[in-house]
Symmetry: C2
Subunit: 168 residues, 2 copies
């Protein structure tokens, strides 16, 4: 089983590292894709290697997509390839989990209409404009989509992600 994470510089460190280490605890292979390969650094100055370039990603290689927050999604959302990848996961009904500002990528990819979801509070208005049903909860599950608000929600976010990966 392989899981894809998409991020870029100024990621929210714990929202990338906690899922990344959690999946590795389960011996799940994780690829981190960004605009280009190489080290990306977080708001809190943690560094991690983006081992894939967005353009080389084949969504069918992966079981799930995780989108951490921070300031990274604001850049990634304008990458057509990132939008295409997100659409492919939705089309195949594969798990897409986004936290904090992560849902911004899904908004720009026009995937949120009619979906129940949450996000960092400053993204709530955008979600509503995209005709999603915004809920102020630690985790919201709508079919293949799992969303959370902020680092404090990571336990609930990871609990639902792991449950989904084990049951699907």
């Amino acid at each position: 089983m392989k899981v894809l994470m998409i991020s870029a510089n100024n990621f929210e460190d714990s929202e990338l590292l906690v899922p990344y280490y959690r999946l590795k605890e389960e011996n799940i292979e994780v690829d981190i894709a960004s605009m280009k390969k190489g080290i990306i650094s977080g708001k809190h100055k943690y560094e991690i290697n983006a081992n894939k370039e967005l353009n080389e990603i084949n969504p069918s290689d992966y079981k799930a997509l995780i989108l951490p927050g921070g300031k990274a999604p604001e850049k990634i959302r304008h990458e057509e390839k990132a939008q295409e990848i997100a659409k492919a996961f939705f089309k195949d009904n594969k798990l897409v989990a986004a936290i904090c500002h992560g849902p911004q990528i899904l908004i720009t990819a026009n995937l949120m209409k009619g979906k129940h979801a949450t996000s960092y509070k400053s993204v709530a208005d955008e979600l509503k404009k995209a005709e999603a049903f915004y809920e102020d909860k630690e985790v919201v599950i709508d079919g293949n989509l799992i969303t959370s608000r902020s680092p404090e929600d990571l336990p609930a976010f990871m609990r639902e992600i792991m449950k989904h990966l084990k049951n699907n």
Copy 2:
């Protein structure tokens, strides 16, 4: 089930946050004890509430003790109450898991003699002087004691901690 973590200012952020969130994912209650109650901040500027003071800890309330690294253990190791707590966990053969500089607390408490263990590389000489058998591995298990070297080892560290908690 309750788990105790002991830390202080300048903790290694991921070594505190990853276990903390992981245990909460399992709905395990976690207390964070420090020299005094209140917010402590990490090397990477994450903040977390130390909800307990060392002096009010009764080790028998807890199933396991986790000692994150960073610069915090260098201060904590000189707290007699922290040494007493660590000794109580060893005496009752309860899980003690230490990562990075975390084992320094166990060295000062004279608990490492004859134990197989690892640590951050700069702590290796101290461990050897304390007559521990130092191993340069991502995780070393010796009875109730689980040790790891650094943040990159967190997946193996948490895998063994969770296994121990489930099987004991």
